[in-house]
Every structure is written in structure tokens, then in C-alpha cells.
């Protein structure tokens, strides 16, 4: 009952009585239990899911069920759900219960999706391996010794292991697409401003977007269309109408660009490189124009990303102070010690590092040299990208420079991890929509994905184009 990758199949079975939602939920709960070793779930809403399932079974009988009836979804532990705990995988939010639900959660519930639990991730979404979590690392279901990617590692693992139909994650520098690549799932980041951030625990305000993980494009599209669109609670949401993905496949030849220098970079794994070039030939054979172009700003993408996101994060995380909610140190004996002890004990090392960096780049004397410059560099990247889309429909790259690495791999150099994001950050810097498609496997049977990006607000076209490579 848990094996279906598309909602259509699920709804067919529900319709013809092969099983009920209630039965399906039991099957999922059992499966989740069996795969506890993945450490994908932080909390399972067994009781909630069971009662929702009963309600939805009744609605299905009466023909009043919503579009997403039968869809079982997990939420990344940084998307708030009223009356439920949420911690951003941090000790700093231990015990915190949200007073409201994220807009995306409300929209999913309105259409009768069932939320089965909250999913592990890197603390405050900062990380690329889901190793920086208060709850411990998540294991890649395809190889338990490997990371699932991050920061939405739990979401990717849960979907890959069939513990739910789909999951929501968040993507600030690749945190949906990179884990999708490592786990062989589809991960999609919409255009910045397409999906409301109301209820997403903020990491970097001008980079964050919520997006879906799934095993089928059908489910990706359904979730995207349900969540996207104007919202009264997020000032940055676009008022542009959300186009639905056309049902017919678009087979006409398209113009695709890739960054020449990216594929010759020393950071990229040989197999990934070869697979990418093969894929490019394949695309050409199908009639598409695929051109390697210059993108001289490639080396600056990750530095821009780190300067700007840590700056915004250092400010966004100032509210975690042990005063009004969240963790407070036992040893707090006055205001200053409440701040310092609570934050020092509550945050993990990576978060603290990023807060420090962010504080530094905003501090007086350094603002212009780092933050000011990075904002200008962002303009350059954005302008260059707009120019590219005047000539091309899509930008192609491997999602990640290699497949999943070992959980046990340690590095003393924090910047090593930064280069994981080298292909994904571009979409967050510019705000463009981007999807990772699970198209390849390396010689060790580990998946890695191909990433397509389109111009802002061209999701419908992008997701439609993806149908050329994924047939469900």
C-alpha cells in the first residue's frame, strides 16, 4: 500500500476499495518504524495521521475530499505546524510548540493531504550532509554508510525509503536539490517569492524557499501548485498568477546552456563529469541545442552565497535568546548570562560559526568590504543570468559535484563543505526555479542528479520539460 509514486495511483486504489487511507497510514507507520535506523523522522504523528485518515476516508465516500486526499507528506523540522513541536533540529528550540501553521501547511491540509511527521535536517538548515543535527545524522537509505545530503536530509531519505509519498524541504543554497541528487529523488526549488515563507523558520531571508521532494513529477507538480501563490503574511511573495503545468508533454526542441568551466572544475567527480557529457550528447541527439557558455562569475558564487546568507542568518537567529521561548541555560543568572549561556549551549558549532561570520561581514568597518561587495556581485550574477535567459530556455548542470559521501568523513576545513553547493547556489543567488532529476547512478550504485534551471516564474515550463526525462 505504500509503494505508489503518484497520487493518481493512490487515489485509484482508494476509489476501487483496494485499501483505505486508514489502512495505508498503518502501512506507512509500520514502514517508518522498520526504518528507524535512518533517523529520518524526528517525530511521527501517529495519532494525528490516524484520525486524519479516518476523516478523509469519510470525505472520499461523500465525494467532498480535496485534491490531495490520499497524499502522505512529511514536513522538514523548520516548517511550523500549529499545536506541534518544531525545533529546526536545534537544542535551541527544545520543547517549542508553534502557535500557528505555515501557509504551505494550511494549503496542504485544506486539500486533505495527511501530514505524517516532522523530518530531521541540519540545524537551522545550515549544512549539506544532515550531520549538524541535534538529533544525530540521517542515513542515506541507498547506502547506510553515506549521507543523504542536507540540509533537508530527513525529507530526502524519507521519500527515497518510501516512508511517505512526498516531503517538504527548504532550499537556501541547494538544500532540497542536493539531497534529492544524493538519494535518487526529485527535488524542486520554486522561484524566490513563489511560495510563501510564512511559517518557514528563517535562515537567509532573500534566499530561502520551500519546495517538494517526491518520486514522481506528478506529485511534485501537485504540491507546487497547491502551495504556490500570493499570501497575506509574506511581503516578498509575488502577486503573479501561478501557471499550472500543462498536462501534455512538451517535446519541441529547446535551447539549453551549461557553464563550460563548471564541467572542467577540479571539484567535480570523473563519473559525474562523464555522465554529464553523455547526457548533453543525448539531448543534442533528441534535437535540443546544448551550448557550453562562459560564466566568469562561477568562482564567486559560493563566496557571495556565504557572505550574504550568514549575514542574514546572524540577524534572523538573534531572536533565539532564551528569553521568551526556546532553550534557556540552567546557569543563567542575569540577562547577559541568559543570552550567552543559552545561545552557546543551544546552538551547534556550525550554526555558531555562521553566526560569527555573518556578524563579521555586517560589522562596522567591514560592511562595505564584504556585505556591500557581495550585494553588488549578486547584481552582476543576476544581470548575467537574465542575459543568458534571453538566449536560452534552461541552464543545465550536474546537481552535485559527486554522489553521496561517507557519514564518517571528517574535515578540519569548514570550507570543504562549501563546495558541495557549487552548482546549486546559483539558483538561490538569482532566485530562479531549479529542479534536480534523478537520472544517474555511479559505479557504486549511488545516485546523482541532473539539474535544470529556468528563468524566474517559468516553473510550468521547467516542470513540463522535465517530463522528457521522468515518465511519471
Amino acid at each position: 500500500m505504500t509503494q505508489f509514486d503518484t497520487l493518481t495511483e493512490v487515489q485509484e486504489n482508494l476509489k476501487n476499495g483496494a485499501f483505505t487511507c486508514a489502512q495505508m497510514i498503518e502501512a506507512f507507520l509500520e514502514r517508518i518504524e522498520k526504518h528507524q535506523n535512518l533517523n529520518a523522522f524526528v517525530e511521527v504523528y501517529a495519532h494525528d495521521a490516524r484520525s486524519r485518515a479516518t476523516v478523509i476516508d469519510a470525505k472520499l465516500k461523500h465525494g467532498t475530499a480535496g485534491k490531495l486526499a490520499g497524499l502522505v507528506v512529511g514536513l522538514k523540522d523548520n516548517i511550523v505546524y500549529r499545536g506541534h513541536k518544531v525545533t529546526a533540529a536545534s537544542k535551541m528550540l527544545e520543547g517549542f510548540e508553534s502557535l500557528f501553521s505555515a501557509t504551505v501547511v494550511e494549503r496542504l491540509l485544506e486539500e486533505d493531504a495527511i501530514i505524517i511527521g516532522r523530518l530531521n535536517c541540519d540545524e537551522f538548515a545550515m549544512g549539506s550532509a544532515n550531520k549538524f543535527s541535534h538529533y544525530g545524522p540521517v542515513k542515506n537509505p541507498l547506502n547506510l554508510k553515506k549521507v543523504p545530503g542536507g540540509s533537508s536530509g530527513g525529507s530526502a531519505a524519507a521519500v527515497a525509503a518510501g516512508l511517505c509519498h512526498a516531503a517538504l524541504g527548504s532550499d537556501t543554497g541547494g538544500s532540497i536539490r542536493q539531497p534529492a541528487s544524493f538519494t535518487g529523488t526529485i527535488g524542486f526549488k520554486p522561484t524566490y517569492g513563489r511560495v510563501s515563507r510564512h511559517g518557514l523558520i528563517a535562515f537567509a531571508s532573500s534566499f530561502d524557499q520551500i519546495g517538494p521532494f517526491a518520486r514522481s513529477l506528478e506529485n511534485i507538480n501537485l504540491l507546487y501548485e497547491t502551495m504556490a501563490g500570493p499570501d497575506d503574511y509574506d511581503n516578498t511573495v509575488s502577486q503573479k498568477e501561478v501557471e499550472t503545468v500543462p498536462p501534455e508533454q512538451n517535446e519541441k526542441p529547446r535551447k539549453i546552456a551549461y557553464f563550460k568551466d563548471a564541467l572542467t572544475s577540479e571539484h567535480i567527480d570523473k563519473e559525474v563529469k562523464e555522465a554529464t557529457f553523455e547526457f548533453i550528447e543525448d539531448l543534442k541527439a533528441k534535437g535540443h541545442t546544448v551550448t557550453g557558455i562562459e560564466f566568469p562569475l562561477l568562482d564567486y558564487l559560493v563566496p557571495i552565497y556565504y557572505i550574504l546568507t550568514t549575514a542574514e542568518a546572524s540577524s534572523n537567529l538573534a531572536r533565539y535568546d532564551g528569553i521568551h521561548f526556546g532553550y534557556r541555560s540552567e546557569n543563567a543568572h542575569d540577562l547577559e548570562s541568559t543570552y550567552k549561556l543559552s545561545r552557546t549551549e543551544g546552538f551547534g558549532a556550525e550554526v555558531k560559526r555562521r553566526i560569527l561570520l555573518g556578524t563579521f561581514v555586517l560589522s562596522s568597518g567591514y560592511y562595505e568590504a564584504y556585505y556591500g561587495k557581495a550585494q553588488k556581485a549578486r547584481r552582476l550574477v543576476s544581470d548575467k543570468t537574465k542575459a543568458i535567459f534571453e538566449e536560452y530556455d534552461f541552464i543545465l548542470s550536474p546537481t552535485t559535484p559527486h554522489a553521496a559521501f561517507d557519514i564518517s568523513a571528517e574535515s578540519t576545513d569548514p570550507t570543504k563543505m562549501y563546495l558541495e553547493d557549487i552548482f546549486t547556489v546559483h539558483a538561490n543567488i538569482t532566485g530562479i526555479p531549479s529542479v534536480s532529476l534523478p537520472l544517474f547512478q555511479n559505479s557504486k550504485k549511488l545516485p546523482f542528479g541532473m539539474q535544470f534551471s529556468a528563468n524566474s516564474f517559468q516553473e510550468a515550463d521547467l516542470l513540463n520539460f522535465a517530463k522528457n526525462f521522468i515518465n511519471k
Binding site: L99, S206, P303, Y306, I307, F347, F360, T415
Partner: protein, 99 residues
């Protein structure tokens, strides 16, 4: 660029974080590597470039001035680490506080 321990202290204080001496060593080294990494941005010629500040093109997103009762007092205080019936509580040193 290399940050001194004093500068790390200043930053830590601004961010209300405490580091042990050993941790500070590690941080000075980490920051060194990180800043070395992001320093790359100085290679760019950014003369006359307008900073990109707002990714969204929306303007004048305003809300009507209407009051709503959104949460009760108990809900507001529910997550407080320490509270009495009405207030959030923070321990204080028994001396005159400013402001």
C-alpha cells in the same frame, strides 16, 4: 585575512556567544580559512554596480490598519522558559538595572 583573538571576542560578544580559549583558537583558524575563501570576492570589479537588495519585484505591499486578537495571554506565555501568571521572567542580578 586573519582575525585576532580580540576581534573574535568582540564578534562573539556582539552575537552573545561564549567560547572557551581552546574553541577560540579553533575559531580563529576556521575564520581564517572562511575569510580566505570569501575574500575571493575582492577580485571583482564592482565599480558603479548597483547592489541587488530585493530579490522580489513587489512594491508597496501594505496591510489594512485593522486590529485582530490573535493569541491569548496564556498562548503567548506558553513557550516561556520562565514566567509568572502575566510576565516573561528573566533572572536579574540584585543591582540597579539601566533603562
Amino acid at each position: 585575512m586573519k582575525l585576532s583573538k580580540e576581534e573574535v571576542d568582540k564578534l562573539a560578544h556582539l552575537a552573545r556567544l561564549d567560547f572557551s580559549e581552546a574553541e577560540k583558537e579553533a575559531i580563529v583558524n576556521d575564520m581564517d580559512k572562511i575569510l580566505g575563501f570569501v575574500d575571493k570576492i575582492n577580485e571583482l570589479d564592482l565599480e558603479g554596480v548597483e547592489p541587488l537588495i530585493y530579490l522580489s519585484e513587489e512594491r508597496n505591499v501594505l496591510r489594512k490598519d485593522e486590529a485582530q486578537d490573535l493569541v491569548t495571554k496564556d498562548e503567548a506565555l506558553k513557550n516561556a522558559p520562565d514566567r509568572d501568571t502575566d510576565f516573561f521572567r528573566v533572572p536579574k542580578v540584585l543591582k540597579r538595572e539601566e533603562e
